[in-house]
Amino acid sequence: MLPWLIKRILMLVPVFLAVSVVIFSILHFIPGDPIDNLLKIGSSPEARAEMEARYGLDRSLPVQYGIWLSNVLQGDLGTAIVARRPVADLIAQALPHSLRLGGLALLFSTVVGVTLGVVAALSRDRWSDRAIMGGVLVGSTMPSFWLGLILILVFSVSLGWFPVSGARGWQSLVLPVLTIGLGGTALVARITRVSMIEASGRDFVTLLHAKGLSPLRIQLRHVLRHALIPVVTILALRIGWILGGAVTVEVVFARPGLGTLLIKSLAQHDYPVVQACLLMLAMAVMLGTLMGDILQALMDPRVRAAMT
């Protein structure tokens, strides 16, 4: 498995390079110039040129890219143009918040989603199945900012259980995690249910029944195990999705995090920060795919076999 892992990681290198090119170049299409924020109004073109030189914006794009990439590889994400401090500091401030929120949301949607999916699959086509899948559908069709606002209105304003905004203590995580988690729950529950039903129809399940095993044991010990393989793969693939998808929720709850940092920097044309944020997300995505593959291998001997 180790050679496979090394090969797999090496395969990420061209992907990383491609992503870095996309991230680097896309931002140069954004109209507006961060230098404008820095220059004294009415500054001379010389002052402007000097400022551009200072941030390396006067070189050709490929050269800028080369410099940027080599800096990034050395762990230097540059200096934020508007915030005037190392981008790494900003990321270091934001990332823990995002990881906490994203991680908990992932955990929530996995646990709740799988549970609901299993219950729905076991009670297939009965009212409990319909109720769960209906609830899940409705849950997934509510815009997350709207859901967040409604949750604030109910649980913070009316009931006073949780803080309205910010990131102070675990209480402030409950509503944001719930807001993001509910959307993810729908996805997980749906995939779990479908995979369970699909797996239940497989030949080996008939034989398990013929062996006299109890249906519950068959469902939980065998069918669920198979059903979880796609669930885990998709969840791992969606790590970046969950981190980035927290944007709206972070804004609604006025929480610090990669999303708010990205939105703000995007609005301010603070290239180095936007680039770093996107790079972080892209790396989370790549890491997610890798983890998905590893988890799949751990869960399925056939995949393991294909690796060697």
């Binding site: 004294k40 109004i41 005037r84 610090p256 708010t260 703000k264 044309h269």
Partner: protein
């Protein structure tokens, strides 16, 4: 290795002590929410920044303080004297003052600071422009040699931008100054700062040199202040309502009623320093025609806006300056007031005839203009009303919303016809800032560059030998600008703050134009 170990141990014990101290201090701490127009200030560097928040004024003291009646009083300067010809100022400095990093405050540091202020690249240099050089008379006396008389000097010295900076650390820290570390002489020290999120200040225990206008000269009564930045007013209000924060440094007019509904919340109002207005781009057709500008300006129904958008709190604006300033007292004829009949007549006269669908037409072209605003909800709401009011005289305005931090760049393109903006300043030199011919694009969003105005502007900015002359010159400049209709004044709010009466005890009187150092020195937290 051992040194490293000892260092680690030391820092660990220090941080543990700090932690325990922080725990003990929780009783004497309060959480504030920054005013929405101060959200996102990137630095606490008063020399470089174009935007400074309330916390800056608590870190840095100024030489001069201002009372509610706008008169000047001692702070770091005990007394001062202006030469009869206005060409020199002598300041006697308070003794025993130290910076947060232990450096002494004296004539040398004032000289060092002002040199930094004049030489550092930034937009604030004009405030010290009239000072030719600084002479150290003795350790506690400093003399400003002037290049020209500057009646506005005391105002400038009382502004947060001229908070006295410790020069050595400023030079040493470079770009990190004001971001990671910052040293002033103020009643509070910076503990932590996350841009756009939160600033924590702790009490300067040795502080005894508070401004004359404060009852308590130090140290402050509250040990620890947390300033949260919440961009959305309604979120901030809900935080206050649910006890998440103790004090909102700004409350929009439409939420004041909501605050008053709550038994344990109260509103604090102070005279406003803001003006909301609609800049009109004079270079962009059809607004290159002064008649069309006047028509647009007079289509704005300030009374309706005051009543409906701002719940009747505050006052209408009919000049560009807050009415507390003497320079705002221009003849009635120069004031810009709602007059739809006149607007319609002017548009007819300019050849814009009323067309179908209520939009005026000329040469087959509809009277369609762009109207820019920023994404904060109050701006969007006001802009929509402005849009409807323009529509009423046949001008169709198309709104484009920009992020508030981005809109300044956008103005530099000069592509907008109209915009809705606000400023916060209590000095007449704001007319120069927004209509000076050398600041086209931004801040001169109106792209106003008029030879006569430039003459009047020079006289107002640099030609006055004393305050009376300055007021007269600025009034003339202001009046002329108004008659050219490069903008339409809309509204002047009051400064409204909201706080929890369970948690906060305000001083009886806040003798300052704004809720700053003086108020924070006297403020108490209830147990």
């Amino acid at each position: 290795m051992t040194r490293l170990f000892r260092k680690t141990l030391l820092s660990a014990s220090v941080s543990l002590a700090a932690l325990i101290a922080a725990q003990a201090a929780t009783a004497q701490e309060a959480v504030f929410v920054m005013a929405t127009n101060e959200v996102g200030a990137p630095t606490y560097n008063p020399i470089k920044a174009t935007m400074l928040n309330t916390a800056t004024g608590l870190i840095f003291d100024r030489l001069v303080s201002q009372a509610a009646d706008l008169s000047y009083h001692p702070w770091l300067a005990e007394s001062w004297e202006e030469a009869p010809d206005g060409m020199a100022w002598t300041f006697k400095l308070k003794q025993g003052v130290t910076f947060h990093n232990g450096e002494p405050f004296n004539a040398e540091t004032v000289k060092g600071w002002l040199e930094l202020f004049k030489t550092t690249e930034g937009e604030n240099g004009y405030m010290a422009e009239a000072i030719a050089s600084v002479e150290v008379v003795d350790e506690h006396t400093v003399k400003f040699v002037m290049a020209r008389p500057e009646p506005n000097l005391l105002y400038n010295l009382s502004s947060t931008f001229m908070g006295v900076v410790e020069p050595k650390s400023f030079a040493a820290l470079g770009d990190n100054y004001g971001v990671t570390e910052v040293y002033g002489t103020g009643p509070f020290k910076l503990e932590s700062f996350a841009i756009g999120q939160e600033t924590v200040l702790v009490r300067n225990e040795g502080y005894t040199w508070g401004p004359e206008v404060a009852a308590n000269h130090g140290p402050a009564k509250v040990e620890r202040l947390t300033f949260r930045e919440i961009p959305e007013d309604s979120t901030a209000f809900l935080e206050l309502k649910t006890g998440g924060v103790d004090f909102l440094l700004s409350v929009p007019a439409d939420l004041m009623g909501e605050v008053q509904k709550e038994a344990n919340l109260a509103v604090l109002t102070m005279p406003g320093q803001d003006v909301w207005y609609m800049p009109i781009n004079v270079t962009k057709a059809p607004f290159d025609d002064i008649r069309v500008r006047e028509a647009a300006a007079k289509a704005i129904n300030q009374e309706e806006i005051l009543a409906s958008v701002f719940g009747g709190v505050g006052a209408v604006a009919d000049t560009f300056l807050i009415s507390a300033l003497p320079e705002s007292h221009v003849p009635d004829g120069a004031k810009i007031k709602f007059d739809p009949a006149h607007s319609n007549a002017l548009l007819d006269e300019a050849g814009w005839a009323m067309g179908e669908g209520g939009v005026r037409m000329k040469d087959g072209q509809p009277l369609k203009v762009t109207l820019w605003t920023q994404s904060d909800s109050i701006f969007r709401r006001l802009t929509e009303v402005v849009q409807a009011q323009l529509k009423a005289v046949g001008i169709e305005a198309e709104i484009t919303t920009f992020d508030s931090s981005m809109i300044r760049d956008q103005y530099k393109t000069g592509e907008q016809h109209l915009a809705v903006r606000s400023y916060n300043w209590d000095n007449a030199d704001i007319v120069d800032w927004f209509f000076g011919g050398d600041r086209l694009g931004y801040p001169n969003v109106s792209m106003f560059n008029d030879p006569k105005a430039e003459e009047l502007r020079a006289a107002a900015m640099t030609g006055a030998k004393n305050m009376d002359e300055r007021i007269a010159n600025f009034t003339a400049y202001h009046e002329y600008v108004l008659t050219q209709f490069p903008m339409a004044p809309i509204y002047q709010p009051v400064q409204a703050m909201a706080y929890s009466t369970d948690r906060i005890a305000l001083p009886e009187k806040i003798d300052a134009p704004a809720f700053g150092a003086a108020a924070f020195l006297d403020l108490e937290v209830k147990e």
